[in-house]
């Protein structure tokens, strides 16, 4: 499990934090790098459980990038747990899917936005920019 990368206090930071949840370290790292280059603060979690622990420890990212297919706690389970916690339910989630059917299902679960893998950088940045304000 990777340690979350947290910078300074979110409240005083001018840059919102993006939580990247993906079990694939390459993708997770790449996403974090790209977002960091765009000036976002990022935190990484290698699965739903880690992400949930992170959030329950008081962190409130502006947007969560969520991979669906993960071995420990998958995206669906994470989403269900998030929606079950009133403190976390309001954080917008952008799901990253490889399967078009899952993409469709994600929409039904009130996911803010779904991006099909392989993700286009412009689309990613646009989506994040759209939801970072909340």
């Amino acid at each position: 499990m990777n340690e979350q990368i947290s910078t300074v206090q979110p409240a005083v930071s001018p840059w919102p934090e993006i939580l990247v949840v993906d079990d694939d370290a390459d993708v997770r790292g790449m996403l974090a790098d790209v977002l960091a280059m765009e000036g976002y603060r990022t935190a990484e979690a290698d699965g739903g459980r880690t992400a949930l622990t992170y959030l329950r420890s008081g962190h409130r990212p502006a947007v969560i990038l969520l991979d669906l297919m993960m071995p420990d706690m998958d995206g669906w389970q994470f989403r269900a747990a998030q929606l079950g916690d009133p403190r976390l339910a309001g954080i917008p989630v952008i799901v990253l899917t490889a399967d078009s059917r899952e993409h469709q299902k994600a929409c039904e679960l009130g996911i803010a936005r779904g991006l099909r893998k392989p993700i286009d950088l412009d689309q990613l940045l646009a989506a994040v920019a759209e939801y970072r304000a909340g």
């Binding site: 694939d24 390459d26 993708v27 790449m30 996403l31 790098d33 790209v34 280059m37 297919m69 990253l96 490889a98 399967d99 078009s100 059917r101 899952e102 469709q104 099909r116 893998k117 392989p118 993700i119 286009d120 950088l121 412009d122 990613l124």
Partner: protein, 840 residues
């Protein structure tokens, strides 16, 4: 009184003996007749009918009493007697007389002859001798007459009939012994009693046949006397105050004298009590018989041996509709003639009747069919007396049409009941099979099927139902057992292990693929189902099962297992057939369920593969693309990377995009093949989409030297998948560009209310007719892959998407002059069921 009969000399005056005095005494008075001679003077002053004592006193003045005694003695016993006496006491003047008294034959009373006994002189002596001779002759005649009378009396006494003889005056002259025995008291029959009838009627009562009391004048003797002709009458008589009576046939016959006057009357009566009683009994019996025969249902006819109808009741005439005159004839033949015309088969009838008449002892029981539709039952037997004498034949007839009809109805009813039972059984069979089929169709898995079938079969066909199924490795497994309410037993049976090595019912049934009906033997050491040990057999026996019907479950020649029905006895053919039909259905259903399970597993596996493959392939692509795109973004800042590096980054991005497309294509092909292409249906404007696609393809077309011409059209909206339609357009356009030989490409969108149509026409190399069908298959292309790159999946995907949207793709092409691909899509989108099926 007549006095002439005993005269010895015929033709002479009565008793006109010379010197003799003759007289006759009839019990009351005297009749005198005297000839010339001294004796006539003696009685000259006497009247013609002097009193007897007076006459006797004249004849024998010295001893009249002796003479009177003599007369009485003769009257009493009828024997002749002679008394010698004198006319007077003094000897000088007295005459020596002899008086002979004898009973007169045939009449009452006596005859006396008094004559002078003279000293014999020659003349006198001659005369006396003559007289003696005559007297002797007379006596002889008298004796003969008496003998005849006595003989007659003897004869009359021996006669059983009662016979009496009376004088017209009513005096009884004779009563034979039968008469004496018949009448009491004895005083009744004292001969000589006067007014005998009146006397008798004072002791007896008489009635005629009808029971009317009779007077003396009604009786035959008095009537015979009155009209001088014989009379007869049946009378009943009995002593007054007595209950006993006698029936007698009484006859009266008058005996007339020369002038036709009645002299006597003979009464003869025969005791006919027995006959009369028998006749009465006969009459009673006949009445009873008649009443019985009239009360009975049968018509009765009695025919004597000579063929005359002795008796027939009214029913007989009615039943056979015998005419009055035929009945009156009394002849059975005549009656038969009137009957035969009514019969359906008169010849057979007559033959049978003849046979019965010729064998008097034969009994017959027949049913006769009449032309009018009636059926008459006939029973006949001979009538025999106590000693076996033939009295004739009795016939009983009964109209049994109703009864036969009732029997026929009953028979039909029975048949109907049997048919109904059979139909109900058939219906039961059919219903069971139907319910089995319904349950099997509804069941999702094998376990449910077995439970449902067992539930239907137990109680109907078996006490318990056991299923053993072959697993994929070919081993037999006890899967399920059901024993009605006996769950414990079912569990125990279900827990038993099956051993195919036991060469019994189950193993053989599976081997031969044939139903086996085997006995459950506790001591066999194993059960017919192949369980080792005797536990299973004991369990089955405990249930009352003595036999097992093992039905192999075979689907399309492949054995799947067996259904075993535990039964109290061996199964009849229909039960066996029914069990086999249930087994057949169950086997097919199990096979279907297994196929369905396998196919579901395969589908799930493929789904998982698609999902994993998408994920696993795209995840590195994601990292790759982000890297390339980041590089390109960095390159936008001057001096960040070298131009060579930028060029390489661009190439890497291009290749990554191509790889991504290829992966998409491959996954799409897989989905299309699995019919699991997912669609996101929304309202899409095909015209706008086409416009965008044409614009997007513009650069590529330009590079190929082609110009894409889009015919203008208004919006064409439908319920489609935008992304998939983009794929269709992209594939069709790049196809046209690739094979368009640098010629213009014409694109058109048309629509009517229901359908939208997109056509892409190139003027390229075209496709030969024989390959036109193949271009839509996977990895196919119209021309050699050497000249044209690509996997050859484009048109396959196009067709897959269009079909999934409920539409079709048509190709019109001619080698050398180009091809036109036309896509037709329903504007309402794919059929919902079709979408459902895709997602299954």
């Amino acid at each position: 009184m007549q006095t002439t009969e005993h005269t010895a000399a015929p033709g002479a005056a009565p008793l006109a003996f010379e010197g003799a005095l003759t007289w006759r005494f009839d019990g009351e008075s005297v009749a005198l007749s005297s000839g010339p001679g001294p004796l006539s003077a003696l009685v000259a002053d006497l009247p013609g009918s002097p009193p007897l004592p007076e006459l006797l006193a004249r004849l024998a003045p010295s001893n009249p009493g002796a003479l009177l005694r003599l007369v009485r003695a003769v009257l009493a016993d009828g024997l002749p007697r002679t008394l010698h006496h004198r006319t007077a006491h003094d000897g000088a003047k007295s005459l020596r007389l002899a008086t002979c008294v004898l009973a007169a034959p045939g009449v009452a009373g006596v005859i006396g002859a008094t004559s002078v006994v003279a000293q014999p002189s020659s003349k006198i002596a001659r005369r006396a001798a003559k007289l003696r001779r005559e007297a002797a002759q007379l006596r002889e005649s008298e004796r003969e007459a008496r003998r005849a009378v006595a003989d007659l009396h003897v004869v009359l006494d021996t006669v059983a009939d009662c016979i009496s003889v009376q004088q017209p005056s009513g005096r009884l002259v004779f009563l034979n012994r039968a008469g004496q025995r018949a009448l009491e008291p004895a005083t009744l029959w004292q001969v000589g009693r006067r007014q005998w009838q009146s006397f008798m009627l004072s002791h007896y009562e008489l009635w005629d046949e009808a029971g009317k009391p009779l007077q003396a004048s009604d009786l035959p003797p008095l009537r015979a006397l009155a009209d001088r002709s014989p009379h007869r009458k049946l009378v009943r008589y009995g002593r007054k105050g007595s209950d006993h009576y006698t029936w007698a046939l009484m006859r009266g016959v008058p005996i007339l004298d020369d002038v036709g006057e009645p002299r006597m009357v003979v009464t003869a009566w025969t005791d006919v009590t027995e006959i009369q009683l028998a006749r009465e009994e006969l009459r009673r019996q006949k009445a009873v018989l008649q009443a019985v025969s009239e009360a009975s249902l049968d018509a009765v006819l009695v025919v004597s041996p000579d063929g005359s109808m002795i008796y027939s009741d009214p029913k007989f005439a009615r039943l056979w509709r015998i005419p009055e005159e035929a009945l009156a004839s009394g002849s059975d033949r005549v009656a038969l003639e009137s009957v035969r015309g009514q019969l359906r088969d008169p010849a057979a009838f007559m033959t049978r009747v003849e046979a019965l008449y010729t064998t008097p002892d034969a009994e017959g029981h027949d049913e006769l069919q009449l032309k009018d539709g009636r059926t008459i039952e006939r029973y006949t037997s001979s009538i025999r007396g106590p000693e076996g004498q033939a009295y004739g034949r009795v016939w009983f007839f009964r109209d049994v049409s109703e009864r036969n009809l009732a029997r026929e109805r009953e028979r039909l009813l029975l048949e109907e009941r049997v048919a109904r039972a059979s139909a109900e059984r058939l219906l039961g069979t059919w219903q069971l099979l139907e319910r089995v089929s319904q349950r099997l169709a509804a069941a999702q898995d094998v376990e449910t099927m077995l439970r449902d079938v067992a539930g239907l079969v137990v109680g109907r066909l078996a006490k318990a139902c056991i299923f053993d199924l072959l697993d994929e490795g070919g081993a037999l497994r006890r899967v399920f057992a059901e024993a009605g309410t006996n769950d414990g037993l079912a569990c125990a049976l279900a827990a038993e292990r099956v051993d195919l090595g036991v060469p019994e019912g189950l193993a053989r049934a599976l081997q031969e693929r044939r139903t086996r009906d085997v006995e459950v033997l506790v001591h066999a050491g194993h059960s017919p189902l192949g369980e080792r040990g005797s536990r299973a057999a004991e369990l089955l026996n405990g249930l009352g099962a003595r036999s097992l019907l093992v039905v192999p479950l075979v689907a399309r020649g492949v054995p799947l297992g067996a259904m075993s029905l535990a039964r109290g006895d061996h199964a009849e053919a229909d039960v066996r057939l029914l069990a086999e039909q249930v087994g057949e259905r169950l086997a097919l259903a199990i096979e279907g369920a297994q196929l369905l399970r396998r196919s579901r597993e395969a589908v799930a596996l493929r789904d998982e593969f698609l999902s994993v493959a998408s994920h696993e392939l795209r995840t590195p692509l994601t990292a790759m693309r982000l890297a390339h795109q980041t590089l390109l973004r960095m390159a936008a800042q001057p001096g960040c990377i070298s131009p060579q590096a930028l060029s390489l980054a661009r190439a890497a991005d291009r290749h990554e995009q191509r790889l991504s497309r290829l992966i998409d294509a491959l996954l799409d092909v897989t989905r299309i093949e699995a019919r699991r292409l997912s669609l996101e249906l929304e309202t899409v404007d095909l015209a706008a989409l086409t416009h965008e696609a044409v614009a997007l393809a513009g650069p590529e077309a330009e590079r190929a030297g082609s110009k894409i011409v889009l015919r203008p059209s208004g919006p064409v909206e439908g319920r489609w998948d935008r992304g998939r339609l983009e794929q269709v357009l992209s594939n069709l356009l790049s196809n046209a560009i690739k094979y368009g030989a640098g010629q213009p490409i014409e694109v058109e969108v048309r629509a009517d209310a229901e359908w939208a149509e997109l056509s892409v026409r190139d003027e390229g190399i075209g496709i030969p007719a024989e390959r036109q069908r193949m271009v839509f298959e996977r990895f196919e292309r119209a021309v050699s892959s050497k000249h044209y790159a690509g996997l050859g999946l484009g048109l396959f995907i196009v067709r897959g998407i269009v079909n999934a949207l409920g539409g079709e793709v048509r190709l019109k092409s001619e080698p050398g002059s180009g091809s036109t691909f036309t896509v037709r899509l329903p504007r309402s989108g794919p059929d919902e069921h079709a979408v459902g099926a895709l997602h299954e």
